[in-house]
């Protein structure tokens, strides 16, 4: 067995660097470091989606294998490593737990209406934006942060959250909107 499992292998590299190394060089040590960081978080995420411990670990393995196979398509200017892993985990659990398709746009579709301002911030590492975003998350009022976690982690649309939590729909909407406004401002506040 080679020495692959040490998280220290990637201690001086960002997760974005590690993911890029996996995509470019099939770097197994980088992959192991990513696993060490993301697998426990993915397990927690999948548990909150209703998986039991065993099922969650199986799905974690699936997601990490997809990370390995798709790493070549990862673009650090478009998304942080965590965001990219999140979208893979989200789609995988919709497929596995709900057995549904996840309809998404096709960026190559000729019918797609192009962005007239085509990302002016090309080249700005998404990692920097992610740092500001994480800081802003910590400043959200608890009632907004709690709803945001429910919306992302519990596989429930906001209408159902409203019914289950006994919070009026209008309140749920305005809290989510206020939270998003603040986070958006933090993300766009780079220049």
């Amino acid at each position: 067995m080679q020495d692959l499992g040490s998280p220290a292998a990637g201690a001086d590299r960002t997760f974005e660097d590690l993911l890029t190394a996996v995509g470019r060089d099939r770097d197994r040590a980088a992959f192991a470091a990513l696993f060490g960081h993301f697998a426990p978080r993915l397990k927690a995420y999948l548990r909150r989606q209703g998986c039991d411990a065993g099922g969650a670990e199986e799905l974690v393995q699936d997601v990490m294998l997809l990370v390995w196979r798709r790493a070549e398509t990862y673009d650090p200017t478009q998304a942080s490593a965590a965001t990219w892993v999140f979208t893979i985990a989200r789609n995988r659990r919709i497929d596995a737990l709900r057995r549904e398709q996840r309809p998404e746009i096709d960026p190559a579709d000729p019918t797609l209406v192009p962005d007239p301002m085509e990302s002016a911030d090309d080249g700005v590492a998404a990692r920097e934006t992610a740092g500001r975003l994480r800081a802003a998350l910590k400043t959200l009022p608890p009632e907004q942060a709690d709803l945001l976690r429910l919306a992302y982690f519990e596989d429930k649309p906001h209408s159902l959250i409203s019914a289950e939590q006994g919070i009026p729909l209008g309140t749920v909407k305005s809290r989510l909107r206020l939270a998003m406004e603040r986070l958006r401002k933090a993300m766009r506040d780079s220049r």
Binding site: G5, F31, A39, P40, R41, K43, A44, A56, E57, V60, Q61, L65, W68, R69, A71, T73, A79, A82, T83, W84, V85, F86, R90, N91, I94, R98, R99, E100, R102, P103, E104, I105, D106, A108, D109, P110, T111, L112, V113, D115, T129, L133, R134, L137, L148, A151, Y152, F153, E154, D155, P157, H158, S159, L160, A163, V172, R177, M180, R184, M187
Partner: protein, 228 residues
């Protein structure tokens, strides 16, 4: 090219970005995204919020054997093929009317669909969703294409749950304004609206969600009243 003026709004986009919407609602939101660069940016940012939340979640210990299992399987799995990037130099001769992901569901030749007549000037096609194997198929919702002739509108109705309508061609007008290609109308049970197709007629995608509103604790109280 014009961009839409009626949008899903933050909460629906958050539901989409977080993956909480059923297939039908996801289909209509994603089809709107294809026509609306501004909502695409919003969703990308909402996915970044998902990433930040994943970072901040309390981690749960994973059995160390998991990593070994995964490492042992890496070599069995070739990288997935890259999706070829289109060359932007030459535009294809014909740009299909319907964007993806809708086109994948209904094809690009609308005349071949088995349209069903609902009333004079109003035809529909119910879009098959999913494989039908889901244990929770009720939450998928329903999606249909609607074709309205000039001046035609569905009979006066309110909505149980939520109804989303995306204009694909032509347009319609209701109490909330004028809706053209790419515009998405969100109507819930608080809205009594009366859409009427504009002069050029209207082709739209309409989606109703499963009556999720009424399944929670509150639903037990509400249900007897909304059954009629």
């Amino acid at each position: 090219m014009t961009v839409p003026t009626h949008h899903p709004g933050d909460t629906l986009l958050i539901d989409y970005a977080g993956g909480a919407l059923g297939e039908a609602a996801s289909l209509i939101v994603a089809t709107h995204l294809a026509l609306c660069p501004c909502c695409r940016l919003n969703v990308a940012e909402m996915e970044a919020v998902g990433g930040a939340l994943l970072e901040s979640i309390e981690p749960e210990e994973v059995d160390p054997a998991c990593l070994e299992t995964v490492l042992a399987r890496l070599d069995d799995l070739p990288p997935l093929p890259r999706i070829p990037r289109p060359k932007l130099v030459c535009q294809p001769a014909e740009v299909p009317l319907l964007p993806e992901p809708l086109r994948r569901y209904v094809g690009s030749d609308l005349s071949r669909l088995p349209w069903k007549r609902l009333m004079r000037g109003m035809d529909c096609y119910d879009i098959p969703l999913g494989s039908g194997s889901g244990d929770d198929s009720s939450r998928r919702g329903k999606a249909r294409l609607m074709r309205l002739a000039s001046g035609v509108g569905p009979p006066h109705h309110t909505h149980r749950g939520i109804e989303l309508t995306l204009v694909l061609d032509g347009g319609f007008t209701d109490d909330l304004g004028q809706f053209a290609r790419g515009d998405l109308s969100v109507a819930d049970d608080s809205v009594r609206h009366r859409p009427v197709a504009d002069e050029e007629g209207c082709l739209c995608l309409a989606v109703t969600d499963a009556p999720l509103h009424f399944t929670g604790a509150l639903g037990l109280i509400l249900n007897p009243f909304v059954k009629f």
